[in-house]
Amino acid sequence: MQKFVLSVLVENKFGVLTRVAGLFSARGYNIGSLAVGETEDPGISRMTIVVEADEKILEQIKKQLNKLIDVLRVQDLTGGEHVGRELILIKVKAEDIKAREKIVQVVDSTGGEIVDIGKKALTVEESGDEHRIRALIELLRPYGILEIVRTGKIAMQSEA
């Protein structure tokens, strides 16, 4: 099993998300993450889907996606150059001053941002590639992570 990144252009129509999600569940394919949003053309949305599959299943996933009437194009970004980003919010325990200071340092050094300050916790925002996100999570883990929210990856093919 390997992770693949698919970029899927779909008609921005009622029900299109269920068609795609339903296809994955009906055929037993694994979705790692799925992010949807409008493109420059409001009639068209782009889904970035991270799937876990082997090569043979990936082929089937691409073909089955292409069969959906509302799917306009399926692009496999895995092999080629692409920019991938994800946004994450991490709520981390920060009950005493010392912990707070350390967390602030960590966040500064990674380029993240503290977006909410509570009495007992801080919320950290970070966006970046998988690497960066994973690194931040690991750095914050010792302080006690209370909650994580992730958008799922969005990706775009690089300009040649």
């Binding site: 339903g22 009906a26 009437i69 799917v71």
Partner: protein
């Protein structure tokens, strides 16, 4: 421009699509439509007695005629009753448009009376589906629905139409074209790939053509026959492909797979080139996949890219329409001989023919065989139910033309045959239409006999009455120690449950019972003469089995022969 209601727009659109028959059942959420259909002379509504019957009748109509079948139901239970019929059509790639009433737009999502989320329910069993919320979209949606249903790899499309939209008014203009950016089936095959097939044929010593339902859908039977005869390659067919190549041609191997002929399965297993056309390597065909056609270079011609390399590794894929591709291929293929190969196959045909015990007992295979003998010069269509009856109908009747064999292959839906036969008869009034049935299956949609009687649709039902859910009983006999759990349909205290002759009569149809082998021909002749619908109840050997048989999951080389 004068405005029309949604119901009127739908009817006008159906007429634009050339629809002349619809099958359906009324209800509150579809009254505006059925009201406008009332009295229509050129668009006839056939009242089935169950919505499942309507879907299968539309399906049978489509399979027999090649046109898109249309069924109509009300919201909620009416619509959910269509589901099995839609799924049946989906699995067998049958062009169908299903129209369902829906609760008022404003009530959708409120758990309103007779509300069911049909777009949600049918998403995985339709090629596409629509909920029409604005009457101004309706004509376009119908146009798209028929286009999607009938092109590429065909399939069912559902249109869910809220009752208020049927009453809203809009100007009617039927679009001439569709604009579907995400749907462009490929018809022309890649010429480089087609050349590769021709080369592979030249290299091959033991080629076999494996033809599926795609031949029928594409109308490729003539090109297939030209191809096979020119290249001199034997042809085996799937259950869905029967009639796609003449079964009485010396090159025909009959059906392959679980209940295929021994010579078809042996030929596939020994082949060095397997040319699959419009077939999808279903598990009932391949048996154990990694032992399937082990020495063959595999060619796969199919209009659906997702069918290629799904189950079996393919060496030469060609995406496109079977007719188009065969036309190109026929320009390239040279005359072949394959003398040794044909001798080998002739040997298998001699040693391992389809057979059954020929004694004085009334055996189901004999009934089917006699039916063939009596009707082979006539324009006959055979629909079937599911189970042993279906397999005997596939094995012992010889299909020589496309669209004369109507059977639920992919889903294996009991109850398919009778409504499908009725739909076929409506589409093909000059054909003689039979439903070869089991005593179990026929009870699943027997109510449609009322439609046949009322509309004088002379379908002929041949029940191979073995008192069992025979196919399941066969598995229990062979693999479950003869524990006939819940497969017994008639026993001492209920030998005729029901009495099919009386049942036929209660509907106003003719009923004939046959207990003896000697009476088979006479009864079949009587059925042929009958002007209206008729049931012939053949009380056959109770524990007859279908052979050959490949146990599920085994290599198709490992056939059980029963009599050998």
């Amino acid at each position: 421009m004068a405005k029309l209601t949604g119901a009127e727009i739908l009817i006008r659109s159906l007429k634009e699509e050339g629809v002349t028959h619809v099958f359906g059942y009324p209800g509150g959420a579809i009254i505006p439509l059925t009201d406008k259909l009332y009295g229509e002379k050129s668009l006839i509504f056939h009242l089935t007695r169950h919505e499942q019957g309507a879907a299968h009748a539309a399906d049978g109509y489509a399979r027999a005629t090649g046109k898109t079948g249309v069924c109509i139901a009300t919201s909620g239970p009416g619509a959910t009753n269509l589901v099995t019929g839609i799924a049946t059509a989906h699995m067998d790639s049958i062009p169908m448009v299903a129209i369902t009433g829906q609760v008022k737009s404003a009530l959708i999502g409120n758990d309103a009376f007779q509300e069911a989320d049909m777009v949600g329910i049918t998403r995985p069993i339709t090629k596409h589906n629509y909920l029409v919320k604005d009457v101004r979209d309706l004509a376009r949606v119908v146009k798209e629905a028929f286009h999607i249903a009938s092109t590429g790899r065909p399939g069912p499309v559902l249109i869910d139409l809220p009752v208020d939209v049927q009453l809203q008014e809009a100007e009617f203009k039927y679009p001439k074209t569709v604009a579907l950016k995400g749907y462009k089936p490929t018809y022309k095959g890649h010429i480089g790939q087609i050349k590769k097939i021709a080369k592979a044929i030249q290299k091959s010593k033991r080629p076999v053509i494996y033809a599926g339902g795609g031949i029928i859908h594409s109308g490729a039977d003539k090109e297939l026959a030209r191809f096979a005869r020119k290249a001199n390659i034997p042809v085996t067919m799937t259950l869905m492909g029967l009639g796609g190549f003449p079964g009485d041609d010396p090159l025909s191997l009959g059906m392959l797979g679980m209940h295929g002929t021994a010579y078809a399965n042996h030929a596939v297993q020994a082949s060095d080139l397997l040319i699959a056309i419009g077939a999808r390597f279903d598990d009932r065909v391949t048996g154990r996949v990694d032992a399937f056609a082990p020495d063959a270079v595999v060619v796969h011609v199919d209009i659906d890219p997702a069918s290629v390399s799904k189950n079996v590794r393919v060496d030469i894929p060609v995406i496109g329409d079977a007719t188009e591709i065969l036309k190109e291929l026929n320009k390239l293929v040279k005359k072949g001989d394959y003398i040794e190969w044909h001798e080998m196959i002739a040997g298998w045909k001699r040693e391992l023919p389809l057979k059954y015990q020929e004694d004085d007992r009334l055996r189901p295979q004999y009934v089917v065989e006699q039916l063939y003998e009596l009707t082979k010069d006539k324009d006959v269509i055979i629909a079937t139910e599911v189970g042993q009856n279906q397999m005997w109908a596939a094995q012992h009747f010889t299909y020589t033309r496309p669209r004369t064999w109507l059977s639920s292959g992919g889903l294996g839906t009991m109850g398919y045959g009778l409504p499908a036969a009725i739909g076929a008869q409506i589409g093909k009034p000059d054909s003689i239409v039979f439903d070869i049935a089991g005593d179990g299956s026929i009870q699943m949609n027997i109510q449609e006999l009322a439609l046949a009687v009322m509309e004088k649709i002379p379908v002929k039902i041949i029940i191979l009455n073995n008192g069992y859910l025979g196919m399941v009983r066969q598995w229990q006999e062979l693999f479950y120690d003869k524990r006939y759990a819940f497969t017994v349909l008639s026993e001492d205290n209920c030998t005729m449950c029901p009495d099919f002759v009386k049942l036929a009569e209660s509907y106003g149809a003719k009923g004939i019972r046959v207990n003896k082998k000697a009476d088979v021909k006479k009864a079949l002749k009587a059925a042929l003469k009958e002007q209206g619908p008729v049931i012939v109840d053949f009380i056959v050997e109770r524990e007859e089995n279908v052979f050959p048989m490949v146990p599920a999951g085994e290599s198709i080389s490992n056939m059980l022969h029963g009599l050998a």
